[in-house]
Symmetry: C2
Subunit: 345 residues, 2 copies
């Protein structure tokens, strides 16, 4: 899923996303949109799909991660979290019920339950206490959606989030408890918080046999291009990450042959596209030399073209993975990805 934090994937129009890139599911951020422009305004405007003119599906996160990473002073207890807006310092409260209400105001297709995303590293004791709180919140959020479902005609999925920091026993205890909620899908949170990558993989593996196989599993906030197949190999169906768009803006382009840092002098007169195997609008029309010129000139068109390519690269990788699974060659595909990745490393 491309990330559309503020109800926009930075630099891409909704037509670029839908028609050129074939995106069918976007992520938007509950925390950001709750603060600005506000969920009541979005509700009044006919929901997030209509507000941002997006004809396909939207997943919104719970806001938990942003509360813990962006906001100032916060107090947390079993009822929810009190936090200061990073925009104006005002105090706000998120509860498991209120974040469901906010996401229903958005009209999100897939909602996330409020969770506590612990820092890394954290003590087993705190991780356990926090995980239990997240499980309790998931129960309350599910109850809230069941209650609301009686009043609204639209259908919405709600995913609880597996937490437990980097402790295998806590992850398993959490997944087992959440499984009882019989949710539409399950998210795996608390990854990409600074831990070494083998540990992230281990934490995904920890609950592989516990989460229901017939429901989608969503690893939140991952990963690098070469990691996507690793997560899929561990049972993950969905991922979101700001990397393709953020790295594009910073001048790092992903290609089928690795990373390309566009500012490097070697691309000054390079007539080739970013990736000769890529069929995106950028690669079929523009040279590395032109993109480098736009990047060095600080031109907006650079962001537009680079983001379009990087998002396409991620979608192409996922498409390759799906194809490999369908044709029974995924183990071989994974071996190739690992070999290339080790060569590059």
């Amino acid at each position: 899923m491309p990330v559309g934090t503020q109800a926009t994937v930075k630099g891409l129009t909704q037509r670029d996303l839908s028609e050129d890139l074939g995106v069918r599911l976007l992520l938007a951020n509950t925390y950001h949109l709750y603060l600005r422009p506000g969920h009541e305004l979005i509700r009044k405007m006919g929901g997030l799909h209509r507000f941002m003119s997006w004809p396909h599906a939207i997943l919104t996160d719970s806001g938990g991660y942003q509360v813990f990473s962006l906001s100032g002073l916060r107090e947390i207890d079993e009822h929810g979290v009190l936090f200061r807006s990073h925009l104006d310092g005002e105090l706000h409260t998120f509860t498991p019920q209120s974040t469901v209400d906010v996401q229903i105001a958005f009209g999100s297709d897939i909602l996330m339950v409020l969770d506590e995303c612990t820092a890394y590293p954290v003590s087993h004791e705190y991780a356990r206490e926090s995980m239990h709180r997240t499980v309790g919140w998931a129960r309350q959020a599910c109850a809230r959606l069941r209650h609301l479902a009686k009043e609204i005609s639209t259908r919405h999925a709600l995913f609880p989030i597996v937490q437990g920091s980097m402790f295998r026993d806590l992850r398993r205890e959490c997944a087992a408890a959440l499984r009882d909620l019989d949710a539409d899908g399950y998210a795996i949170g608390g990854l990409s918080v600074g831990e070494p990558r083998p540990l992230s993989m281990e934490m995904v593996e920890a609950t592989e046999d516990l989460l229901p196989r017939a429901r989608p599993r969503y690893a939140m906030g991952v990963g690098m291009p070469e990691e996507l197949a690793e997560y899929v190999a561990r049972g993950v169906d969905m991922m979101d990450c700001v990397l393709p768009s953020r790295n594009a803006r910073n001048g790092c382009l992903f290609t089928s042959e690795g990373r390309l840092i566009i500012k490097h002098a070697r691309y000054r007169d390079d007539e080739r596209p970013i990736d000769e195997r890529c069929q995106c609008y950028t690669c079929t029309r523009y040279s590395r030399a032109y993109l480098r010129h736009l990047f060095l000139s600080g031109e907006i068109l650079y962001v537009v073209l680079a983001t379009r390519h990087n998002v396409r690269r991620y979608l192409d990788i996922m498409s390759e993975i799906r194809q490999a699974i369908l044709s029974g060659s995924f183990p071989e595909y994974l071996r190739c990805v690992r070999a290339v990745s080790e060569d590059a490393g």
Copy 2:
């Protein structure tokens, strides 16, 4: 002509410009592209059209205006101008011959001769001396292109530039001298340098009967939306201006009913498009409320969508003008524009 200073109209892809907006002629800046990425690189990349992936025509200015407005220390004599780059302070020289060479390296379809664009106000004495220099440079530039034309297979138009500050006699003397060059077209420069608008109009009128009517006339760096018809009424065929794109970025949108300042609170929950009569991609898909949200959030997509609308507005005005001329109703059209403009004023 939309303005593509650095070989890009800020925020718009070449496909947006060509297919969505129907643009067939873009302006690019000789001064900027000479400094970065450099005309020799652009020549090596196959010329500006290929470098920026633009399939239609390109007009490049002479660099004169930028030398006088952007660069530091400069010395001017009859041979040309010595100036410091605003990027790194390095010294460069432009001569009437060298700016033709640079624009030929770009492969521009329409080249401008090097001119001195005087500040406003300036003495009659200085304006006269400067105008004579500009006429001399135009002769040298034309001679240079005739010389080069023997060696190159492509065809290029070269426009001399009428100067003379705000002095009617100097403008007429300049136009009469330039007419003898039998050029492909004529530009009217030195406008929009801080003078009151009636004076700009007077200066265009001053040479109306002197410039050959069968050749295009290009008023450089103008104008506001309500002024376009005024220039056309004075014989102008071509204009360029950064206003549609720059104002878009600053939050000022042009509509068929006047200006719209997108940050205003009244648009907070306004579901209407920027302009209900506009058929651009932005107006057919997005609300004022969404655009305001993007603007306040500092999102790149705001620039993309707002620029697309404002450029379309300018193109629509020019299209209305052409239609009015063809149907014989231009005088009436001009009266309407003036009435609306006076109401707004």
